[in-house]
């Protein structure tokens, strides 16, 4: 992680240098005009005699104003451009890292947390860098320059004015801590309330069915009240902060003119110098307010850095070296697999030859999908072996392996892009091929009925597809990608019998010379397979063809009896429009 940050900081070192240079220029030119106004005011008392001096001071004054404006504009532009480009590069790095993680590690981390890595923490790092520049360097510099300018006027006056400011600085930091705490509380209450609102707007039918309206309203009232109280508290602290700042600076002004008059009488300072001094006090206002901001940002950056650091330490997928083309034989040998200390698979032995179809059937949690996950190296094989074309799967390059497989999962994830994009999955294919494969997966009619045809956008901002449609989009991928190994994992569950039959028919020719695995808990999906294995609690309990298994006493026949009745009703009720 450190290396990445250093690499990126190096990439932008010239820009950051510019940021510092422009920052210094605009800070110096910020305060000189104030001083010059003071000098000019003093000279004004005898304007005719001091004409030359006034003009000279005035030119310096105006030149500084112009240089200030230009350099400060440049600074603002460069600092924003650089920090955001830096953030982008950092995010790209983290995102690439994320894509290479093992599936287990991804699944062990909550989606929200993964999202934080690539958005929030990256953002906090940028915020920290920006804070160090805009609040850190600038505050130090502003205080430095102002202090020198003030000392230049009179050191006693400076010291006496600085005292209330130091006190205020401490008060501000204390109050800011309180503000941050109550902000946290308020936000927590707000989150609780909005989660509640989300739940109750989603559950409205249940609420109505059980006469829960008044109850929900009263629950909401307490939640909303808590939000109100916490935000009010936050408001009070903020008011206190702002009032105390106002009071402190007011007192500083009073002190400055009480003592200023004395100093003027003693002829230690001039009226012009006093007026300039007054302006310096005002310019202290913002840097004083920046200090707590700087502290918060740096703290946030530290947290983000540690988080990203541990994220970087997560191991990536093991690639494997063999890049030879894979054709079709799968041999699974004494395969055991456990996940979270529970045995998922026990002693699995199967051989599938090129051109064959294997059916895997079993109840929920019998370990069916785990076999597919292992074949794609989504999980690592530790105990037992899997050979593909005689090569140990652990030695096969992960990309080469996955490129040879087409695995259509239970729940097909669709991107919020067009149907076309979801079929071809960002790869390049001819329109013709896409149309053909969508027709083979019985999608043509559905697409025709959509407003924009195959360009219709799916998901949040587009239309919602039915479960069956989603599955058929996924199945179209199998036809389009035309890989040597194909796995269907419960892919036909939301289809009605006719559609399913049609697709299975289309698959028949397509699967010649391919190795295919069909995973399902429905007899109708697997009965055509060359070989069927029945899984129960991770073990193969039966093996054979449909007819062989039907003639035996066992789980398979139980499934058959149970399903034939329920499937009829499913057929009656679901029956997708076709």
């Amino acid at each position: 992680m450190k290396k990445v940050l250093i690499k990126l900081l190096k990439k932008y070192k010239i820009q950051y240098l510019w940021v510092i240079v422009t920052l210094l220029i605009f800070q110096i030119t910020r305060f000189i005009p104030v001083q010059k106004v003071g000098s000019i005011i003093d000279l004004l008392s005898d304007a005719t005699n001091n004409k030359g001096l006034i003009i000279r001071n005035f030119i310096v004054f105006f030149a500084c104003v112009i240089i200030h404006c230009i350099s400060r504009s440049l600074y603002k532009y460069i600092v924003k451009a650089t920090t955001y480009r830096f953030e982008k590069d950092l995010r790209n790095e983290i995102f690439s890292k994320f894509l290479n993680l093992k599936l287990e590690d991804m699944q062990n981390t909550k989606n929200g947390e993964l999202m934080s890595y690539i958005t929030k923490y990256v953002n906090d790092i940028r915020g920290g860098i920006y804070g160090i520049i805009a609040y850190g360097i600038r505050t130090i510099f502003a205080f430095g320059v102002l202090f020198i300018l003030m000392l230049n006027v009179n050191w006693k006056l400076t010291l006496i004015v600085i005292i209330p400011m130091v006190i205020e600085g401490i008060i501000v930091n204390k109050l800011k801590e309180q503000i941050k705490n109550s902000e946290k509380h308020a936000q927590e209450e707000y989150t609780k309330m909005s989660e509640f609102v989300q739940e109750s707007t989603d559950s409205i039918r249940t609420t109505k069915a059980f006469n829960e309206e008044e109850y929900q309203i009263s629950l909401f009232k307490t939640k909303s009240e808590k939000v109100k109280n916490n935000y009010t508290k936050l408001g009070i602290y903020s008011s206190l902060l702002s009032a105390s700042m106002g009071a402190c600076f007011g007192i500083c002004y009073a002190i400055s003119f009480i003592f200023g008059t004395k100093l003027i009488i003693m002829e230690l300072i001039t009226v012009g110098e006093f007026i300039a001094f007054n302006s310096y006090i005002r310019d202290m206002y913002w840097p004083l307010k920046w200090i707590p901001q700087l502290i918060t940002r740096i703290k946030k950056m530290q947290v983000a850095f540690n988080k990203l650091n541990s994220f970087y330490e997560i191991n990536e997928e093991i690639l494997g070296e063999s890049k030879e083309q894979l054709v079709g034989d799968i041999v699974i040998n004494n395969l055991d697999f456990s996940y979270d200390n529970t045995n998922v698979l026990k002693n699995i032995n199967v051989t599938i030859k090129s051109g064959e179809t294997l059916g895997i059937i079993g109840t929920i949690g019998s370990g069916k999908s785990t076999i597919a996950n292992l074949l794609l190296k989504l999980y690592e094989v530790n105990d037992g072996q899997i050979f593909i074309d005689g090569k140990d799967i652990n030695k096969i390059d992960i990309e080469q392996l996955r490129d040879s497989f087409c695995y259509i999962t239970q729940e097909s994830f669709l991107f919020s892009k067009s149907i076309r994009e979801n079929i071809k999955l960002f790869r390049e294919f001819s329109n013709d091929d896409i149309m053909k494969s969508s027709s083979k997966s019985a999608l043509t009619e559905d697409i025709k009925n959509m407003e924009n045809g195959i360009e219709t956008i799916v998901g949040e901002k587009g239309i919602t597809l039915s479960g069956g449609q989603k599955q058929r989009v996924a199945i179209a991928r199998a036809f389009l990608f035309n890989k040597n190994f194909i796995i269907f994992d419960d892919t036909f569950s939301a289809l009605d019998n006719r559609t399913e039959k049609l697709i299975l028919e289309n698959l028949k020719g397509f699967l010649e010379n391919k190795t295919c695995i069909i995973i399902s808990n429905r007899i109708s999906d697997v009965k055509q397979a060359d070989k069927i294995i029945v899984l129960d609690k991770g073990e193969i309990v039966q093996k054979g063809t449909h007819n062989e298994l039907l003639s035996q006493e066992g789980l398979y026949r139980n499934f058959y009896n149970e399903q034939s009745s329920n499937e009829f009703l499913k057929e009656m009720n679901i029956g997708e429009e076709f």
């Binding site: 999202m115 008011s239 009480i258 989504l378 949040e460």
Partner: protein, 592 residues
């Protein structure tokens, strides 16, 4: 702003008028105090500093006063303290009032959403409602706490300063205002341009975040189809676009503040030049130069803030109207007050020539002339394709919608004449994917009714959910996550059955789960179903044959009409739609 909008603002502000009057009064006093401070300093400069004295004699009102700088200093500090104390109380009052207004508006719209009918919820996406209750109300609070008050305070401050400047030196004031007006125009133009760029960057941000979120949700798909590299490239493209859109906003943002700074100093230098050259016969005392410089610096902040706040007003107007557009739909509210209370329900449910469509303007009827009768403790099952009208019938029994023609009778009383709460109290639903609230299992069973532990446990036993509950670490006090994510569909149904046993309604409605449920849970569910259908009037949308073979009547629906009815046996003998499907299915299986 339209009249309607003003009326709406007035409506929510009305209960707090007193607070607003106090706030306005306070802010005027604060403004005057703040503006008077530089005058004191001016006098110190002109009267004491320039004359190099610490004590001076003034004669006013025919009397002589001796005033020292120290005295003025103490006065100044007093003013500062009073001003900031008032300021604190004003800000406190503002935030209290703003939060109260938000709280009240939130409650108003939330209770509206709870009491609105299902039709309203059908056409209002829950996300939209969520935004109205949470973020739009927040916009209102921001409006009352920040925008309105600062707007008022700033404007009155500008006015107070202007009056003082005009009285001190009207010629100079005009020059100052000339510069200020130029400034306002430039800021306005720049802000508009910056806003366009800003919106573009916001869109780019949304696009990036959506993409990232999808990449996380679709991580398995990405791996399976081996498209990491493509996704990575795509991310870089979108991220690049996002970064550059933000950089583009900096082009407008960066010079804006500096332009203001430039004009501020331009105004200051004009004043200096004038006083140096005594142009146009303008005589300026040193103190006046000080006071003008101070005021110029003080003017710019309120002016730029006012420009920003005008936009804030526009945003608040939009949010307010969004909220009220919902609240104003009074005829979407369900009527819970009128109607007959029913007790001792026997449970005879009858549909008499019911015609129904979801919207009166729709051409197609969803239900056409549906008539059937369920005698107490009888059970009927509805079968038919999606869209045939099964769910609609269930919705109508709950009176989620009102029918256009015909009658639905419970114990011979038209359900339209029954008090809505009372009706629903007697009907219990178990839906396909029951909604589980985040909270304990006990809370999910008792719902809004406070129940003893025993009663809840009794319900769990009746629902055969004992072994499931016992398998949980905390038993009935086990917490359910949001939407019961930590439970399977089967377990959620068990909880839903326990709800029914606990509340003991007279009519029982079941929409059987289609998802695969593990065998042991399924057997438990079956037990509950049998028990309930024996005791109560029941309507099933059945998905398993074992449920349907025992019912008293099956209604076969097609396109909103009942095409066949009878028991399973009768229907099979009838050789109609039902038996055809049944037979063809078994033929396709190859039969045994």
């Amino acid at each position: 702003m339209k009249n309607k909008t003003i009326k709406r603002f007035y409506e929510i502000a009305k209960p707090h008028l007193k607070a607003f009057v106090v706030i306005i009064l306070f802010s005027i006093i604060i403004d005057i105090l703040a503006a008077s401070r530089p005058i004191l300093v001016k006098n110190v400069i002109d009267e004491f500093m320039q004359n190099k004295v610490e004590i001076k004699e003034f004669s006013k009102f025919g009397r002589n006063f001796i005033i020292s700088v120290n005295f003025i200093g103490i006065m100044y500090i007093l003013i500062v303290l009073i001003e900031n104390t008032l300021d604190f109380f004003m800000m406190k009052l503002t935030s209290v009032t703003g939060e109260k207004i938000m709280h009240e508006t939130r409650q108003k719209i939330f209770s509206f959403s709870q009491k609105a009918n299902v039709k309203f919820h059908d056409k209002t996406p829950s996300g939209k409602l969520f935004a109205r209750i949470t973020s739009d109300t927040e916009d209102l609070a921001i409006f009352f706490e920040d925008v309105l008050i600062t707007l008022f305070q700033d404007v009155s401050y500008i006015i107070v300063i202007s009056i003082i400047m005009l009285r001190l030196n009207w010629k100079l004031s005009i020059i100052v205002y000339g510069v200020v007006i130029i400034c306002v125009v430039i800021t306005y133009i720049f802000t508009k341009k910056a806003n366009v760029a800003y919106n573009l960057s916001k869109n780019a941000r949304t696009k990036l975040n959506t993409f990232l979120a999808e990449a996380i949700y679709g991580a398995k798909t990405i791996k399976i189809f081996n498209i990491q590299k493509i996704i990575d490239k795509e991310e870089r493209k979108i991220a690049e676009d996002h970064a550059e859109k933000i950089v583009n906003t900096a082009k407008y943002e960066a010079p804006l503040a500096q332009i203001l700074f430039f004009f501020m100093y331009l105004a200051i230098s004009i004043i200096i030049v004038i006083s140096a050259k005594k142009l146009w016969n303008i005589e300026i005392a040193l103190g006046e130069v000080y006071i003008f410089i101070t005021y110029i610096r003080e003017l710019f902040d309120p002016i730029t803030r006012t420009l920003e706040n005008i936009e804030g007003v526009q945003e608040a107007v939009v949010s307010l109207n969004k909220i009220y557009d919902i609240i104003d739909e009074q005829n979407s509210l369900e009527d819970f007050s009128s109607g007959k209370e029913i007790e001792n329900v026997i449970g005879k449910l009858e549909f008499k020539h019911v015609w129904f469509k979801y919207n009166d303007n729709d051409e197609k009827w969803v239900l056409k002339d549906i008539s059937f009768c369920i005698e107490p403790t009888q059970t009927i099952a509805l079968v038919g394709k999606t869209g045939a009208g099964k769910t609609t019938i269930i919705n109508l029994v709950n009176r989620f919608y009102d029918i256009q023609k015909g009658e639905i009778l419970l114990d011979g009383v038209n359900i339209k004449d029954i008090n809505l709460s009372s009706l629903r109290k007697h009907i219990g639903n178990v839906l396909q994917d029951p909604f589980i609230f985040s909270g304990t299992i006990k809370e999910n069973i008792e719902l809004c009714n406070d129940m003893s532990e025993e009663k809840v446990n009794e319900a769990i036993d009746l629902a055969s959910a004992r072994s499931f509950i016992n398998s949980l670490q905390n038993g009935i006090y086990e917490k359910a996550y949001e939407r019961g994510e930590n439970f399977s569909v089967g377990q959620k149904q068990l909880i839903a059955f326990a709800r029914i046993f606990a509340l003991n309604p007279d009519v029982f409605i079941l929409d059987e789960a289609t998802a695969n449920i593990d065998t042991s849970t399924e057997q438990l569910i079956q037990k509950s179903i049998d028990k309930l259908s024996r005791e109560k009037t029941a309507i099933f949308i059945a998905h398993r044959l074992s449920t349907i073979v025992n019912v008293d009547k099956i209604l076969v629906l097609k396109d909103g009409e009942i095409i066949e009815q009878g028991t399973h046996k009768e229907l099979l003998e009838k050789r109609g739609y039902y038996s055809n499907l049944y037979n063809s299915y078994y033929e396709s299986l190859g039969g045994i």
